[in-house]
Symmetry: C2
Subunit: 452 residues, 2 copies
């Protein structure tokens, strides 16, 4: 069409579209492939965590009449629906506690909009596990590079970056499964650009999950429309009124394509050990380590000094929080509950757990700012009733890039969250299948293992 020319060489659209159309499995390094599997294992885990939450239950009940007659599965649930609605619900569930994966430079949760779209596609139109992993790496690359390019303006302005960039990742990933041509990839980007949305003001409410669900759903549909030659502009990202100029000030063009095919963003993905703000991870590590010492008595701790990055004080000095959601960023509650329970999973940040520490007491904290310290580090000094002091130094918290969760820890996370959701089937077949996903002839058979 004369109105929709293929974008020129050098444009981000042309480079991404040809990269997406041409990427070979052999070009993806083994470590990147393995990180993709870890991301997928973790997203099944957190989808279990959210699959029975009120926002998911309400969305499912209200919107199921708007689902087509598909047979695609939902993680942890027995309902079946069309692929787009399944992608929507699974993405909501996976992200609802912000307990899912985290791309460090953008704070995007890459897998929530992406993996649900891909598995929904795969359950409807069978594809190999290798094709799905390739699509996951590709989609993750696009959404995280787009996030890098619009950061830090984009999130600081108030865009919910997981949603706004996630729709592009889902579109390109699903497009890869559909076998789009380079021209069709450009149209998929345009269809995604027309549908991106989500704002930070909704965080902490049910509304947030709509934008995350939409990113998965509308990304998938953007690809299917492009497959049908439903066309868009040649420069949906870089055009004068394209995504980059509308959603960012001074976007970083080099981040979009620099080292494309050599530097892999999805390889930088991280996974949370606790369902709390990332800056609390070293504090929880320290409290749990201290609580494991022989003869530990929480009543003997009179106060705690925390030396850490100023962000730690700014974001987590919240002695009086009263709800589970607020407690996800309260150092006082986090230490108190870690002392009491010796663990810090989802139930440690429930409303009931917060009421418990409010009633039974939280330690008095002193924060000492040290801008030279990484946000993954803390030096915690515990002051005891006998006047003694003991210090636990954490230099790289669990789940940080320098101290990632092990494969076994990710497996444990999945087992714990599936059990917490009352999942009635054994999860080992799912875990095993994810580790050999690249050998699966039918990727959809893997996600069906997560359905109740």
């Amino acid at each position: 069409m004369s109105e929709n020319p293929f974008p020129p060489p050098g444009s981000v659209e042309r480079q991404w579209a040809t990269f997406a159309a041409d990427l070979r499995w052999a070009d993806i390094p083994p470590a990147v492939r393995h990180e993709a599997k870890r991301s997928i294992l973790n997203i099944f885990a957190t989808a279990f965590s959210g699959c029975r939450e009120p926002a998911v239950e309400k969305a499912l009940a209200t919107l199921m009449p708007f689902s087509g007659a598909g047979t695609v599965s939902l993680v942890g649930r027995s309902e079946r629906c069309d692929p787009a609605f399944a992608a929507f619900i699974n993405a909501m569930a996976a992200n609802i506690f912000d307990y899912d994966d985290n791309h460090p430079t953008t704070i995007i949760h890459p897998a929530a909009p992406l993996a649900p779209a891909l598995f929904a596609f795969a359950e409807q139109r069978p594809v190999s596990g290798l094709a799905l992993l390739r699509a996951f790496v590709l989609g993750g690359e696009i959404e995280c590079r787009l996030g890098n390019a619009v950061s830090p303006y984009h999130y600081a302005r108030g865009w919910h970056i997981t949603s706004t960039c996630g729709v592009f990742g889902a579109a390109v990933g699903a497009g890869a499964l559909a076998g789009l041509s380079a021209q069709q990839f450009v149209w998929a980007l345009g269809n995604a650009a027309a549908q991106a949305g989500g704002i930070v003001e909704t965080l902490g409410t049910m509304s947030k999950s709509l934008s995350v669900g939409n990113a998965a759903r509308l990304g998938l549909l953007s690809a299917l429309l492009a497959e049908a030659d439903y066309s868009g502009p040649p420069a949906p990202l870089s055009g004068e009124r394209g995504f980059l100029k509308v959603y960012a000030d001074n976007p970083n063009a080099a981040a979009l394509t620099g080292g494309l095919g050599e530097v892999w963003e999805i390889a930088k993905n991280t996974y949370k050990p606790y369902p709390a703000g990332i800056v609390l991870n070293p504090v929880i590590d320290a409290a749990l380590a201290f609580a494991q010492r022989p003869g530990f008595d929480p009543a003997a701790v009179t106060a705690v000094e925390l030396r850490g990055n100023p962000f730690l004080r700014q974001r987590t000095d919240r002695p009086d929080v009263a709800t589970g959601r607020e407690a996800q960023v309260s150092a006082q509650h986090a230490i108190a509950i870690a002392f009491r329970r010796g663990e810090a999973g989802l139930d440690a940040f429930s409303d009931a757990a917060v009421a418990e520490t409010l009633r039974e007491g939280r330690p008095a904290l002193t924060f000492i700012d040290d801008a030279a310290m990484d946000i993954a580090a803390v030096h915690a000094t515990f002051l005891l009733a006998d006047g003694s002091r003991e210090t636990v130094e954490i230099e790289a918290a669990r789940g940080s890039p320098e101290n990632p969760l092990t494969d076994a820890e990710l497996e444990d996370k999945l087992r714990m969250l599936a059990a917490r959701a009352g999942f009635p089937k054994p999860v080992q077949p799912l875990i095993d299948a994810v580790w050999v996903l690249d050998e699966a002839t039918d990727a959809g058979a893997v996600s069906r293992l997560a359905a109740a």
Copy 2:
């Protein structure tokens, strides 16, 4: 819920929510009611115009498998689907040529996201025509006031304002039909804020229609979710990371609520006589008037001088356009085709019509800028082969606020566009039903008259 308090008095969310919950039919002046009917008649007309376009056909074919099993009708078509998908398709069709209504201060097309959502609701859950008209006035008020508040930054930055503000209008309008409480209206606004999107870069392509369709679909779903107490933040608009701060610089707060219930934005709505850029309206008026003079011979016109607002020259001096879409903003083509055909409907801006004037010749134009002239005015001087000059002065073009289309002209527009779409049924019952919509016991029965 402690996390989602009802917004404080004085906030836009509180004022809009209580206005929406409390507005009585008796409070809406008769002239406003009548303008709502005119807007609805016009949106049926333009939905006929687009209902067979390739973008609609492709979207329908690709996305129908994702529709629930509803029985809601599509304008000009025989398919039936769920209410959300019907709203999506009808909104796309109504806006595809930008031939729909226009709110002058924002250039929002108010009815496309709104009326399809309301009639889809009404076909699924019967409501009276009066309830639907009240919901239309209310939704139009919200979307246009929001548009006023974020203008001119919002559209200039690159937001497709019909889509981004339309989702709020559809949410509030559908919420009115659902009988939401004031608290639920706040949640509907929050659900809409999480789902707003659409960028100007997509204009002129199929992708644009996705954001317009989404505005209708997602607005409707925002209301249904709120009805189920799917909750959002207390300040989705005015919050620190709310819609107004994210999507605008220096939003005009007074535009949101000043004169609420006294000044009615939907009463300012206008309707296009020609499917062309608004600044061309007086030029087409002048050319058609001149062509009707006795003894008119297009070959005798050697040149034309156009005295008008500088926008006329800046936006429409395009002598060499080659496609129908480009020709919508070409004064040269518009005059040539008006001369040749004596009319300027959709077929006058087809690719074939443009090829015809390119082949057969377009008049040489001279533009004379006159910043004192309104964009609805032009003084057109026709230079003839015999050396004589004749001037036609248009002070307020057809379709401008000072010279609105008459009710009869709107009826003619609908008749013409329905016939052009090959609509197989008489349209007079539809026209008659819209004029007495406030007396209908079942509003859904009215929109079913537009289905094939």
